[in-house]
């Protein structure tokens, strides 16, 4: 049994001349919470649709729970909960949908469905199309959780939701995840949420994965360093970006910070400050759109 819940190798998805995925290589460890981050159109949804067997890859390979999504789609779907479009059968109520869903999954739990309906305060007797967006999303998540899945794949689950509902969802996700062995793969724009819950992050842009690392390592290594000095020996491979001001240079680095600053000091540079960066700032720098001193929350 592979120790990866999801693995892709050079995955490609072309729509005519548009390359939605352009050689995506990704590894999601079992038992982790993996934050899949990217701008609109970066390829997040395309990736998820391929993993769900809803679309056919143009090239490359992928495995979900060790199985191929095209050849072994049914076993994957039995063990994986998907929330992609957040749309369910419009004329059915929550209870109808539970009844509808029950027969498909051997590990279905009515008790879990009832528990989450209560915790998330989802009206189960209203038709789906009459529910608010927040309730609709909660119901989609409820159904995925009650499946008893080993892997949950969620496409922007908190998009368009107010902070209260987002908080409710996160709490439920974290609580459910604590049942051992579950893997949670979620794509998101809400970086502050991902920052709290993720073990791993993968940053995708233009169909390629630019960064894939443990979040703790990303947090420990990324720093914004301001130095004063002339002709500084900056090792290129450790520096993401360099910005020159009047006498001051700002460096975005991803490295062992003590060694880096020690080296700079030994060359006579004065390190003004070393500031940590939040996930928003790191994200912007990695995809190359960052501006100094302006941390911007990338919202859905």
């Amino acid at each position: 049994m592979s120790d990866l819940a999801i693995e892709t190798q050079s995955l490609e998805k072309h729509y005519g001349s548009i390359h939605a995925l352009d050689g995506l290589t990704m590894r999601v460890p079992r038992g982790s919470i993996y934050g899949f981050l990217g701008r609109n159109g970066a390829g997040k949804t395309s990736t998820i649709r391929l993993l769900a067997g809803l679309a056919h890859a143009t090239g490359g390979r992928m495995q979900v729970l060790g199985l191929d999504p095209l050849a072994d789609r049914i076993p994957i779907l039995e063990r994986t909960g998907f929330v992609i479009d957040k749309v369910l059968l419009p004329s059915m109520t929550g209870n109808d949908l539970v009844r509808f869903n029950r027969g498909f999954f051997p590990r279905w739990s009515d008790a879990l469905a009832a528990k989450y309906a209560e915790v998330l305060e989802v009206p189960m007797k209203q038709r789906f199309r009459k529910l608010s967006t927040g309730n609709q999303t909660k119901l989609c998540l409820l159904l995925a959780l009650a499946q008893g899945a080993a892997l949950l794949i969620l496409d922007e689950p908190t998009a368009g939701l107010d902070p209260v509902v987002t908080d409710q969802l996160l709490r439920v996700l974290v609580d459910d995840f604590a049942n051992e062995g579950r893997t949670l793969f979620l794509s998101s724009h809400h970086l502050s949420e991902v920052e709290r819950v993720a073990d791993w992050v993968g940053i995708i842009d233009h169909g390629k994965l630019l960064l894939e690392e443990r979040l703790d390592d990303v947090r420990a290594n990324f720093r914004r360093v301001r130095v004063v000095g002339e002709n500084l020996p900056i090792p290129r491979n450790e520096v993401f970006k360099m910005k020159m001001g009047e006498g001051t240079t700002e460096l975005i680095v991803s490295t062992n910070i003590e060694a880096f600053t020690a080296r700079l000091r030994s060359q006579g540079a004065v390190v003004l400050d070393v500031a940590p960066m939040n996930l928003s700032e790191i994200f912007l720098e990695v995809i190359g759109k960052g501006e100094a001193n302006v941390p911007v929350e990338v919202l859905a």
């Binding site: 709490r171 709290r196 073990d199 703790d216 500031a275 940590p276 939040n278």
Partner: protein
């Protein structure tokens, strides 16, 4: 005790939890045999990854600060008698170095640094 963490600080969350627990013990807010909330509960309350909480608890247990009982429950240990002074010094050395480096950078005088250290120590009150 109430634990609060911030994800965007650049300090790993598990370290924040460890620091807060140690701080609470040092300040007397947590005494010997007090319990800490179970991993799952704390993670859900803080909306953070349970692995993170688990890691913090494991580190604290490894350092002899917590003990877990089979069947659940995380208890605060008393001052572990077996820890040698040399071991304690060894653990604090990196922090001391960091402090010294920063002080030198800022060109803070040695005496001022010592005074700062003494004030911080005294603020904590009687150690457990």
């Amino acid at each position: 005790m109430i634990i609060r963490v911030q994800a965007s600080l650049g300090v790993p969350i598990y370290q924040q939890i460890e620091s807060q627990v140690k701080h609470a013990i040092a300040a007397g807010a947590l005494r010997q045999d007090d319990t800490l909330p179970p991993v799952r509960k704390l993670a859900a309350e803080l909306r953070i990854n349970p692995n993170t909480v688990a890691r913090a608890y494991q580190n604290l247990e490894r350092d002899g600060i917590l003990r877990t009982v089979p069947g659940g429950g995380c208890y605060v240990n008393g001052q572990s008698p077996g820890l040698l002074k040399s071991e304690k010094l060894r653990r604090l050395k990196p922090l001391a170095t960091q402090l010294a480096v920063e002080a030198k950078q800022l060109r803070l005088a040695r005496e001022d640094l010592m005074q700062l250290l003494e004030i911080s120590y005294d603020e904590l009150g009687e150690a457990q």
